[in-house]
Symmetry: C2
Subunit: 335 residues, 2 copies
């Protein structure tokens, strides 16, 4: 089977780039030093490749991701996000899965207890305005969790606001300041885990003992711009469905059969190699090609943001050149 | 069942607003004068409500939408978009569905023939830089289609660039100019259909004999700003999962459990009533509320763009106040 047999639009994963990214990360942060975040790819078959590279636990952002990963036989799953309804997690624990949930408040702790979860990490705010308890309150929340019968596995803190700081020395300095807060909280909380980091800081965050990077596997143009040394592995195969020739002073354009329902748009327009993108509509990307294209041509579009793009598709095809090696369901979508 | 029983995030459709929107449009453009576009809601159960209001045909943007509509027993389906692979449509025609496909080139005509489609409309470019043959070439393409054994149902032309022109008189004047092109092409092409228009021009486009509006059913904040008199019917139910109190000069914030993987972002951030939205992350909307909110509170977020938001969700719940009346699968997603 080749890419020409695929219905478009279709996500393509470059097998060699994916393999290299997984191998390079496993070399940099082997085994449990890396807890791959599955939110970036939402694909259990890809997670199995990460497990085969030696990583022994995973990070999830939604209950659905945890449920799907457990169903696929992957274990030591950290839900690195707060939930008020953990009722789908308790049955997994009963079935023998190791499930750990982040808590940052009495209410999320109570939800974990009510849902039948037995292990938590204390989510500590290290500067990103999002979730996490204030560092000086982490120990108290851990005490409450222990009093409620929870095992405390440690702390997590995500320095997400630093992932794309352009200057690497500045990124490292700011990361150190954030991690000082996390380590102080860890002193109050206890437990074996100090979890944090991401693709933008995996090489410089030497304070955590496990890194929660996700984007490195398929990569993202924003991280490439920030100097992160992984390869772009994901493109979106699309068909040119309409071409309008230049006429006098008016430039010509072409239309590809995927638009803003198949491309994460929060980082802006996608890139069409050798062309200028004019705009995306629901099911169209309109672009001005430098060299003429014909109706029926197939092109490979670079999404501006991988994570939400993948979440819009039902499957991804692993390819080497034009050969389709495998097709994986994007089976962790939804909530 | 009430909304409190729903797993969040969850799409909510206000039953009364939906009913009013469908009834108002059916009164303005009864029966075949309106060919509802299903791309806006991707939900066959909602399309059935539109059929019950008297509309006898539908507009689709993808092959998947056509296939799903036919499977749900809905008929006279116009694929108002170009495709190079119509092979999933021929079997529907063989089974008795009436399927019409837009063509704007020899290649898309050949694909329709090869796929077993028997009826086409000629898609005419009326000014929007996207698909459509040049108006003066429409007759020639129709001749080629007839020679290939196709039935010609007429023409379509979408004045999509005019939907949000702020001044209504200007919008009407520009629409008339576009439709003059379409009517001239229709003179060359023949057939009974002159199809076009949308939610932004449904009341002023008196030149087409069927309007392809879709957004009116659930509506969109952009159309409301443009003075289109339908009601906002869709919100996104979300749970507050984390709250950080104000401290000294630093404002407090709250975090809802849906972000840019559950909200179309091409029109910008969503609206949280009574709050200022700071940003969306993958699974989070971070906002500063005017009045305090608590962890566990449920809020109703207004997406900035309905169409891509709906396409990210598996189902929508029809509600009256807090009561859940029905749950509909968003069954036309994907390609």
């Amino acid at each position: 089977m080749t890419v020409n047999d695929l219905t478009t639009p279709a996500l393509l994963v470059d097998a060699d780039a994916l393999d290299a990214n997984i191998a390079d990360m496993a070399a940099a942060l082997p085994g449990p030093r890396m807890r791959p975040h599955v939110k970036a790819h939402k694909t259990t078959e890809l997670a199995k490749r990460q497990a085969a590279a030696g990583h022994t636990g995973f990070t999830c952002a939604t209950v659905r991701e945890v449920v799907g990963m457990a169903a696929a036989g992957l274990d030591d799953l950290l839900l690195a996000n707060e939930v008020l309804d953990a009722s789908r997690l308790g049955p997994l624990v009963e079935s023998g899965s190791r499930i750990t949930v982040a808590v940052d408040s009495e209410a999320t702790l109570a939800a974990a207890v009510a849902g039948g979860v037995r292990e938590v990490v204390i989510d500590v705010n290290v500067g990103l305005p999002r979730c996490g308890v204030a560092p000086d309150q982490a120990g108290r929340l851990a005490d409450r969790a222990r009093a409620a019968g929870m095992q405390i596995r440690g702390v997590m803190g995500y320095e997400g606001h630093l992932m794309l700081v352009p200057d690497l020395a500045e990124r490292a300095k700011l990361t150190e300041e954030c991690m000082a807060l996390l380590l102080a909280a860890h002193g109050d909380v206890g437990g074996e885990l100090v979890s944090g980091g991401g693709t933008g800081t995996y090489a410089i965050n030497t304070w955590v003992n496990e890194v929660q990077a996700g984007s490195y596997a398929l990569m993202d143009t924003a991280y490439t711009s920030a100097g992160v040394p992984f390869r772009q592995a994901l493109t979106l195969l699309s068909t040119v469905i309409s071409v309008t020739a230049a006429a006098g002073d008016k430039p010509g354009w072409a239309v590809a059969d995927v638009g803003l329902k198949g491309l994460g748009m929060d980082h802006g327009n996608p890139t069409v190699p050798g062309a200028q993108v004019w705009y995306c509509a629901d099911e169209h990307t309109v672009f001005a090609p430098e060299e003429p294209v014909a109706v029926g041509d197939r092109i490979r579009i670079l999404p501006a943001h991988i994570d939400p793009t993948v979440a819009m598709h039902e499957r991804m095809h692993v390819v080497r050149g034009d050969e389709v090696l495998e097709t994986w369901p994007v089976d962790l979508r939804g909530w």
